[in-house]
Protein backbone atom coordinates (compact mmCIF):
# COMPACT_ATOMS: atom_id res chain seq x y z
CA UNK A 1 0.00 0.00 0.00
CA UNK A 2 1.46 3.35 -1.04
CA UNK A 3 1.49 6.52 1.02
CA UNK A 4 -1.08 8.02 -1.32
CA UNK A 5 -3.42 5.09 -0.78
CA UNK A 6 -2.95 5.25 2.97
CA UNK A 7 -3.74 8.94 3.03
CA UNK A 8 -6.77 8.39 0.80
CA UNK A 9 -8.04 5.76 3.21
CA UNK A 10 -7.45 8.07 6.16
CA UNK A 11 -9.17 10.92 4.35
CA UNK A 12 -12.19 8.77 3.59
CA UNK A 13 -11.61 8.80 -0.15
CA UNK A 14 -12.26 5.14 -0.80
CA UNK A 15 -11.89 5.58 -4.53
CA UNK A 16 -8.28 6.50 -3.88
CA UNK A 17 -7.60 3.28 -2.02
CA UNK A 18 -8.34 0.68 -4.70
CA UNK A 19 -7.18 -2.56 -3.18
CA UNK A 20 -7.97 -4.31 0.05
CA UNK A 21 -6.00 -2.98 2.97
CA UNK A 22 -3.12 -4.84 4.45
CA UNK A 23 -4.45 -5.99 7.85
CA UNK A 24 -1.62 -4.29 9.71
CA UNK A 25 -2.23 -1.03 7.85
CA UNK A 26 -5.96 -1.27 8.47
CA UNK A 27 -5.56 -1.76 12.23
CA UNK A 28 -3.18 1.13 12.55
CA UNK A 29 -5.13 3.53 10.39
CA UNK A 30 -8.40 2.60 12.06
CA UNK A 31 -6.82 3.28 15.47
CA UNK A 32 -5.82 6.71 14.24
CA UNK A 33 -9.30 7.33 12.82
CA UNK A 34 -10.80 6.32 16.15
CA UNK A 35 -8.59 8.84 17.92
CA UNK A 36 -9.55 11.56 15.44
CA UNK A 37 -13.21 10.81 16.18
CA UNK A 38 -12.61 11.06 19.94
CA UNK A 39 -14.00 14.29 21.46
CA UNK A 40 -10.96 14.35 23.74
CA UNK A 41 -8.88 15.33 20.72
CA UNK A 42 -11.03 18.37 20.05
CA UNK A 43 -12.34 19.59 23.39
CA UNK A 44 -10.53 22.62 24.80
CA UNK A 45 -10.48 23.78 28.41
CA UNK A 46 -12.22 26.93 29.57
CA UNK A 47 -10.24 30.14 29.40
CA UNK A 48 -10.44 30.46 33.16
CA UNK A 49 -8.34 27.33 33.65
CA UNK A 50 -5.03 29.10 33.10
CA UNK A 51 -5.88 31.53 35.91
CA UNK A 52 -7.00 28.66 38.13
CA UNK A 53 -3.84 26.66 37.55
CA UNK A 54 -1.61 29.68 38.06
CA UNK A 55 -3.42 30.59 41.28
CA UNK A 56 -3.27 27.03 42.60
CA UNK A 57 0.45 26.62 41.98
CA UNK A 58 1.52 30.07 43.17
CA UNK A 59 -0.69 29.73 46.23
CA UNK A 60 0.78 26.33 47.07
CA UNK A 61 4.29 27.67 46.47
CA UNK A 62 3.70 30.61 48.71
CA UNK A 63 2.45 28.33 51.49
CA UNK A 64 5.47 26.11 50.98
CA UNK A 65 7.92 28.95 51.43
CA UNK A 66 8.01 28.56 55.18
CA UNK A 67 8.26 24.76 55.08
CA UNK A 68 11.41 22.72 55.41
CA UNK A 69 12.12 21.85 51.79
CA UNK A 70 14.34 18.93 52.69
CA UNK A 71 11.83 17.32 54.98
CA UNK A 72 9.97 14.06 54.49
CA UNK A 73 7.25 15.56 52.33
CA UNK A 74 9.78 16.90 49.86
CA UNK A 75 11.57 13.55 49.79
CA UNK A 76 8.30 11.85 48.97
CA UNK A 77 7.67 14.31 46.19
CA UNK A 78 11.11 13.71 44.78
CA UNK A 79 10.48 9.97 44.81
CA UNK A 80 7.24 10.59 42.97
CA UNK A 81 9.04 12.79 40.47
CA UNK A 82 11.58 10.04 39.90
CA UNK A 83 8.78 7.68 38.95
CA UNK A 84 7.39 10.21 36.50
CA UNK A 85 10.85 10.69 35.01
CA UNK A 86 11.28 6.91 34.63
CA UNK A 87 8.04 6.71 32.70
CA UNK A 88 9.01 9.67 30.58
CA UNK A 89 12.25 7.92 29.67
CA UNK A 90 10.23 4.87 28.64
CA UNK A 91 8.15 7.05 26.35
CA UNK A 92 11.13 8.72 24.80
CA UNK A 93 12.09 5.40 23.25
CA UNK A 94 8.68 4.81 21.78
CA UNK A 95 7.46 5.86 18.37
CA UNK A 96 4.53 8.18 17.86
CA UNK A 97 1.49 6.06 17.17
CA UNK A 98 3.07 2.66 16.70
CA UNK A 99 3.71 1.92 13.07
CA UNK A 100 3.61 -1.81 13.58
CA UNK A 101 0.05 -2.85 14.12
CA UNK A 102 -1.00 -5.24 16.77
CA UNK A 103 -3.64 -5.56 19.35
CA UNK A 104 -2.51 -3.89 22.51
CA UNK A 105 -2.87 -5.95 25.63
CA UNK A 106 -4.90 -4.28 28.33
CA UNK A 107 -2.44 -2.47 30.50
CA UNK A 108 -2.62 -2.58 34.25
CA UNK A 109 -3.69 0.65 35.79
CA UNK A 110 -0.93 2.53 37.44
CA UNK A 111 -1.65 3.14 41.06
CA UNK A 112 -2.49 6.79 41.48
CA UNK A 113 -0.43 8.82 43.86
CA UNK A 114 -2.35 11.20 46.04
CA UNK A 115 -1.29 14.76 46.38
CA UNK A 116 0.94 15.38 49.34
CA UNK A 117 -0.45 18.31 51.19
CA UNK A 118 1.59 20.80 53.09
CA UNK A 119 0.84 21.42 56.73
CA UNK A 120 2.19 24.90 57.15
CA UNK A 121 0.61 27.65 59.20
CA UNK A 122 -1.29 29.02 56.18
CA UNK A 123 -4.96 28.85 55.33
CA UNK A 124 -6.47 25.63 54.14
CA UNK A 125 -7.71 25.87 50.56
CA UNK A 126 -10.15 23.67 48.66
CA UNK A 127 -10.86 23.80 44.98
CA UNK A 128 -13.61 22.48 42.73
CA UNK A 129 -14.18 22.40 38.99
CA UNK A 130 -17.86 23.05 38.29
CA UNK A 131 -19.64 21.41 35.38
CA UNK A 132 -22.80 22.59 33.68
CA UNK A 133 -25.82 20.33 34.06
CA UNK A 134 -28.40 19.52 31.41
CA UNK A 135 -30.12 22.79 32.35
CA UNK A 136 -26.97 24.74 31.44
CA UNK A 137 -24.73 22.50 29.34
CA UNK A 138 -22.56 25.40 28.23
CA UNK A 139 -21.83 26.61 31.74
CA UNK A 140 -18.60 25.93 33.56
CA UNK A 141 -16.87 27.26 36.61
CA UNK A 142 -14.16 27.00 39.18
CA UNK A 143 -14.58 27.41 42.92
CA UNK A 144 -11.88 28.13 45.46
CA UNK A 145 -12.71 27.88 49.16
CA UNK A 146 -10.30 29.48 51.57
CA UNK A 147 -10.51 29.15 55.33
CA UNK A 148 -10.50 32.42 57.27
CA UNK A 149 -11.30 33.26 60.85
CA UNK A 150 -14.69 34.58 59.74
CA UNK A 151 -15.60 31.47 57.78
CA UNK A 152 -14.86 29.98 54.38
CA UNK A 153 -14.47 32.46 51.55
CA UNK A 154 -15.94 30.93 48.39
CA UNK A 155 -14.58 32.47 45.21
CA UNK A 156 -16.41 31.44 42.06
CA UNK A 157 -15.30 32.04 38.50
CA UNK A 158 -18.34 31.20 36.40
CA UNK A 159 -18.93 31.38 32.66
CA UNK A 160 -21.87 30.47 30.46
CA UNK A 161 -24.68 31.44 32.82
CA UNK A 162 -27.02 34.08 31.36
CA UNK A 163 -28.04 36.98 33.54
CA UNK A 164 -31.11 36.49 35.73
CA UNK A 165 -33.16 39.49 36.89
CA UNK A 166 -36.66 40.44 38.00
CA UNK A 167 -36.61 38.29 41.11
CA UNK A 168 -34.71 35.45 39.50
CA UNK A 169 -31.16 34.70 40.59
CA UNK A 170 -28.56 32.01 41.07
CA UNK A 171 -27.86 30.53 44.48
CA UNK A 172 -24.79 28.53 45.51
CA UNK A 173 -24.95 25.72 48.04
CA UNK A 174 -22.65 23.35 49.86
CA UNK A 175 -23.97 19.83 50.38
CA UNK A 176 -22.86 16.99 52.62
CA UNK A 177 -23.08 13.24 52.06
CA UNK A 178 -26.51 13.13 53.71
CA UNK A 179 -27.85 15.64 51.20
CA UNK A 180 -28.10 18.54 53.67
CA UNK A 181 -27.86 21.83 51.76
CA UNK A 182 -26.33 25.00 53.19
CA UNK A 183 -26.80 28.23 51.19
CA UNK A 184 -23.63 30.25 50.67
CA UNK A 185 -24.90 33.19 48.63
CA UNK A 186 -26.66 34.45 45.54
CA UNK A 187 -25.68 36.22 42.32
CA UNK A 188 -27.10 37.29 38.96
CA UNK A 189 -24.71 36.25 36.18
CA UNK A 190 -21.37 34.77 35.18
CA UNK A 191 -18.15 36.37 36.34
CA UNK A 192 -15.97 36.48 39.42
CA UNK A 193 -18.14 36.10 42.51
CA UNK A 194 -17.24 36.00 46.18
CA UNK A 195 -19.53 34.19 48.61
CA UNK A 196 -19.15 32.98 52.20
CA UNK A 197 -19.82 29.72 53.95
CA UNK A 198 -20.16 28.91 57.62
CA UNK A 199 -19.68 25.18 57.08
CA UNK A 200 -16.43 23.55 55.95
CA UNK A 201 -15.92 21.78 52.63
CA UNK A 202 -14.40 18.90 54.56
CA UNK A 203 -17.93 18.05 55.71
CA UNK A 204 -19.88 19.68 52.86
CA UNK A 205 -17.75 18.91 49.82
CA UNK A 206 -20.33 19.19 47.04
CA UNK A 207 -20.92 22.60 45.49
CA UNK A 208 -24.05 23.27 43.49
CA UNK A 209 -25.58 26.33 41.90
CA UNK A 210 -29.33 26.51 41.34
CA UNK A 211 -31.72 28.86 39.59
CA UNK A 212 -34.02 30.44 42.14
CA UNK A 213 -37.07 32.68 42.26
CA UNK A 214 -37.65 35.25 45.03
CA UNK A 215 -41.05 33.86 45.93
CA UNK A 216 -40.76 33.52 49.68
CA UNK A 217 -39.56 29.93 49.57
CA UNK A 218 -35.92 29.78 50.70
CA UNK A 219 -35.52 26.11 49.79
CA UNK A 220 -33.56 24.98 46.78
CA UNK A 221 -35.57 24.96 43.56
CA UNK A 222 -33.76 21.81 42.53
CA UNK A 223 -32.91 23.48 39.21
CA UNK A 224 -29.19 22.82 39.35
CA UNK A 225 -27.09 24.51 36.69
CA UNK A 226 -23.59 23.81 38.04
CA UNK A 227 -22.16 21.06 40.22
CA UNK A 228 -18.72 20.00 41.44
CA UNK A 229 -16.82 18.44 44.31
CA UNK A 230 -14.27 20.33 46.37
CA UNK A 231 -10.94 18.81 47.29
CA UNK A 232 -8.04 19.97 49.41
CA UNK A 233 -5.32 21.74 47.43
CA UNK A 234 -3.50 23.17 50.42
Amino acid sequence: MTDEERISYLAGDHAGAPGPLDPADAVELDELRALLADPAMWEVPGQHLEDTVAAAVTSAASRETGDERSGPATSARRAQGGEHARRARHWSRRSVVAWAAGAAAAAAIAIGIGVTTSTGPHATTFSAALSGTSLAPGATGQATLTQTTAGWRVTLHVSGLPRLDDGRFYQAWLKNAAGVLVPVGTFNQSGDITLWSGVPPTQFPTITVTRQQANGNPASSGQRVLIGNAHDVS
Binding site: A40, T58, G81, V96
Partner: protein
Protein backbone atom coordinates in the same frame (compact mmCIF):
# COMPACT_ATOMS: atom_id res chain seq x y z
CA UNK B 1 12.57 21.00 27.32
CA UNK B 2 15.76 22.98 26.85
CA UNK B 3 15.03 25.75 29.31
CA UNK B 4 16.42 25.00 32.78
CA UNK B 5 15.78 28.58 33.84
CA UNK B 6 12.07 28.29 33.06
CA UNK B 7 11.90 25.00 34.95
CA UNK B 8 13.72 26.57 37.87
CA UNK B 9 11.22 29.42 37.95
CA UNK B 10 8.35 26.94 37.70
CA UNK B 11 9.79 24.97 40.62
CA UNK B 12 9.87 28.21 42.62
CA UNK B 13 6.20 28.80 41.84
CA UNK B 14 6.82 31.83 39.64
CA UNK B 15 3.44 32.78 38.14
CA UNK B 16 4.81 33.79 34.74
CA UNK B 17 6.62 30.47 34.45
CA UNK B 18 3.48 28.56 35.43
CA UNK B 19 1.48 30.43 32.80
CA UNK B 20 4.17 29.90 30.14
CA UNK B 21 4.18 26.15 30.72
CA UNK B 22 0.39 26.05 30.91
CA UNK B 23 0.10 27.86 27.57
CA UNK B 24 2.48 25.39 25.98
CA UNK B 25 1.06 22.21 27.50
CA UNK B 26 -2.26 23.01 29.17
CA UNK B 27 -4.45 21.86 26.31
CA UNK B 28 -2.48 18.68 25.92
CA UNK B 29 -2.74 17.94 29.64
CA UNK B 30 -6.46 18.67 29.45
CA UNK B 31 -6.81 16.34 26.43
CA UNK B 32 -5.18 13.51 28.37
CA UNK B 33 -7.45 14.12 31.35
CA UNK B 34 -10.54 14.33 29.12
CA UNK B 35 -9.52 11.09 27.41
CA UNK B 36 -9.48 9.35 30.79
CA UNK B 37 -12.51 11.02 32.34
CA UNK B 38 -14.80 11.92 29.44
CA UNK B 39 -16.12 14.90 31.38
CA UNK B 40 -15.13 18.50 30.85
CA UNK B 41 -15.42 19.67 34.45
CA UNK B 42 -13.58 16.68 35.86
CA UNK B 43 -10.91 17.04 33.18
CA UNK B 44 -10.35 20.66 34.19
CA UNK B 45 -10.07 19.59 37.82
CA UNK B 46 -7.57 16.87 36.89
CA UNK B 47 -5.60 19.39 34.81
CA UNK B 48 -5.29 21.64 37.83
CA UNK B 49 -4.21 18.69 39.97
CA UNK B 50 -1.70 17.64 37.32
CA UNK B 51 0.00 21.03 37.31
CA UNK B 52 0.08 21.06 41.10
CA UNK B 53 1.66 17.61 41.13
CA UNK B 54 4.11 18.66 38.42
CA UNK B 55 5.12 21.65 40.49
CA UNK B 56 5.63 19.43 43.54
CA UNK B 57 7.77 16.99 41.56
CA UNK B 58 9.57 19.58 39.45
CA UNK B 59 12.65 19.69 41.67
CA UNK B 60 13.48 16.11 40.67
CA UNK B 61 12.76 16.55 36.97
CA UNK B 62 15.81 16.27 34.75
CA UNK B 63 15.92 19.40 32.55
CA UNK B 64 17.51 17.46 29.70
CA UNK B 65 14.34 15.39 29.32
CA UNK B 66 11.24 16.36 27.38
CA UNK B 67 8.67 18.05 29.58
CA UNK B 68 5.67 16.91 27.51
CA UNK B 69 5.72 13.15 28.15
CA UNK B 70 6.43 13.77 31.83
CA UNK B 71 3.43 16.08 32.10
CA UNK B 72 1.26 13.61 30.21
CA UNK B 73 2.14 10.85 32.66
CA UNK B 74 1.27 13.12 35.57
CA UNK B 75 -1.97 14.15 33.85
CA UNK B 76 -3.01 10.54 33.38
CA UNK B 77 -2.35 9.69 37.01
CA UNK B 78 -4.17 12.79 38.23
CA UNK B 79 -7.13 11.87 36.03
CA UNK B 80 -7.14 8.31 37.36
CA UNK B 81 -7.21 9.69 40.90
CA UNK B 82 -10.22 11.82 40.02
CA UNK B 83 -11.84 8.88 38.24
CA UNK B 84 -11.44 6.67 41.31
CA UNK B 85 -12.77 9.33 43.63
CA UNK B 86 -15.82 9.79 41.44
CA UNK B 87 -16.34 6.04 41.21
CA UNK B 88 -16.24 5.79 45.00
CA UNK B 89 -18.73 8.58 45.54
CA UNK B 90 -20.98 8.22 42.54
CA UNK B 91 -23.12 5.34 43.70
CA UNK B 92 -24.11 4.19 47.14
CA UNK B 93 -24.78 0.76 45.70
CA UNK B 94 -24.38 -1.02 42.41
CA UNK B 95 -28.13 -0.93 41.98
CA UNK B 96 -27.94 2.86 41.70
CA UNK B 97 -25.39 2.76 38.94
CA UNK B 98 -26.15 3.29 35.29
CA UNK B 99 -25.18 0.09 33.48
CA UNK B 100 -23.54 2.25 30.84
CA UNK B 101 -21.34 3.98 33.40
CA UNK B 102 -17.83 3.63 32.00
CA UNK B 103 -16.46 3.59 35.52
CA UNK B 104 -18.10 0.23 36.11
CA UNK B 105 -16.84 -1.64 33.14
CA UNK B 106 -13.73 -0.08 31.71
CA UNK B 107 -10.17 0.60 32.67
CA UNK B 108 -8.58 3.98 32.09
CA UNK B 109 -6.59 4.08 28.85
CA UNK B 110 -3.11 2.60 29.06
CA UNK B 111 -0.02 4.77 29.12
CA UNK B 112 0.62 3.92 25.48
CA UNK B 113 -2.91 4.85 24.44
CA UNK B 114 -2.63 8.11 26.33
CA UNK B 115 0.64 8.87 24.63
CA UNK B 116 -0.95 8.16 21.25
CA UNK B 117 -3.73 10.59 22.14
CA UNK B 118 -1.16 13.17 23.24
CA UNK B 119 0.69 12.89 19.95
CA UNK B 120 -2.47 13.13 17.86
CA UNK B 121 -3.68 16.14 19.85
CA UNK B 122 -0.33 17.82 19.34
CA UNK B 123 -0.35 17.07 15.62
CA UNK B 124 -3.86 18.49 15.27
CA UNK B 125 -2.71 21.68 16.94
CA UNK B 126 -0.13 22.09 14.17
CA UNK B 127 -2.72 21.98 11.39
CA UNK B 128 -4.08 25.24 10.05
CA UNK B 129 -7.53 26.18 11.42
CA UNK B 130 -9.14 25.27 8.07
CA UNK B 131 -7.39 21.91 7.96
CA UNK B 132 -8.25 21.11 11.55
CA UNK B 133 -11.88 22.12 11.00
CA UNK B 134 -12.19 19.82 8.02
CA UNK B 135 -10.61 16.88 9.87
CA UNK B 136 -12.91 17.50 12.82
CA UNK B 137 -16.03 17.61 10.65
CA UNK B 138 -15.03 14.41 8.91
CA UNK B 139 -13.96 12.31 11.87
CA UNK B 140 -15.58 13.67 15.01
CA UNK B 141 -18.87 14.74 13.44
CA UNK B 142 -18.80 11.86 10.97
CA UNK B 143 -19.77 13.95 7.95
CA UNK B 144 -19.22 12.72 4.41
CA UNK B 145 -17.37 14.83 1.88
CA UNK B 146 -20.72 15.78 0.37
CA UNK B 147 -22.10 16.86 3.74
CA UNK B 148 -18.96 18.84 4.49
CA UNK B 149 -19.28 20.56 1.12
CA UNK B 150 -22.85 21.54 1.98
CA UNK B 151 -21.83 22.69 5.46
CA UNK B 152 -18.94 24.81 4.20
CA UNK B 153 -20.69 25.80 0.97
CA UNK B 154 -17.80 24.73 -1.22
CA UNK B 155 -17.60 22.15 -4.06
CA UNK B 156 -17.15 18.48 -3.15
CA UNK B 157 -13.99 18.37 -5.22
CA UNK B 158 -12.51 21.14 -3.10
CA UNK B 159 -13.40 19.27 0.06
CA UNK B 160 -11.68 16.15 -1.27
CA UNK B 161 -8.51 17.95 -2.25
CA UNK B 162 -8.37 19.87 1.04
CA UNK B 163 -9.08 16.73 2.98
CA UNK B 164 -6.29 14.88 1.21
CA UNK B 165 -3.85 17.70 1.90
CA UNK B 166 -4.88 17.92 5.56
CA UNK B 167 -4.53 14.19 6.09
CA UNK B 168 -1.21 14.07 4.27
CA UNK B 169 0.08 16.77 6.61
CA UNK B 170 -1.37 14.96 9.62
CA UNK B 171 0.14 11.65 8.54
CA UNK B 172 3.47 13.36 8.05
CA UNK B 173 3.35 14.86 11.52
CA UNK B 174 2.51 11.49 13.03
CA UNK B 175 4.97 9.44 11.00
CA UNK B 176 2.26 7.54 9.15
CA UNK B 177 4.11 7.70 5.86
CA UNK B 178 6.25 4.82 4.67
CA UNK B 179 9.15 7.08 3.92
CA UNK B 180 9.30 8.37 7.47
CA UNK B 181 11.20 6.83 10.29
CA UNK B 182 8.66 7.07 13.11
CA UNK B 183 11.43 7.70 15.61
CA UNK B 184 12.49 10.71 13.59
CA UNK B 185 9.08 12.10 12.77
CA UNK B 186 7.47 12.54 16.15
CA UNK B 187 5.58 15.80 16.46
CA UNK B 188 7.63 18.58 17.82
CA UNK B 189 7.16 19.53 21.42
CA UNK B 190 5.08 22.66 21.83
CA UNK B 191 7.09 25.84 21.61
CA UNK B 192 7.54 27.38 25.02
CA UNK B 193 6.50 30.95 25.38
CA UNK B 194 5.39 31.53 21.81
CA UNK B 195 1.75 32.14 22.34
CA UNK B 196 0.51 28.67 23.14
CA UNK B 197 -1.74 26.31 21.30
CA UNK B 198 -4.92 26.83 19.45
Amino acid sequence: MGDPLLLSRFTAGDEDAVRTIYRAYGRLVFAVAYKVLGDRGLAEEATQQAFLQAWRAAASFEPSKELGPWLATIARRAAIDVHRREARHAHSSLEDADPADAGLVSLPPSVDRIYDAWQVRQALSELSPDEADLVRLQHMEGLTHTQIAERLNIPVGTVKSRSFRAHRRLAGLLGHLRGDDPAESAPRQPPIGTGGQR
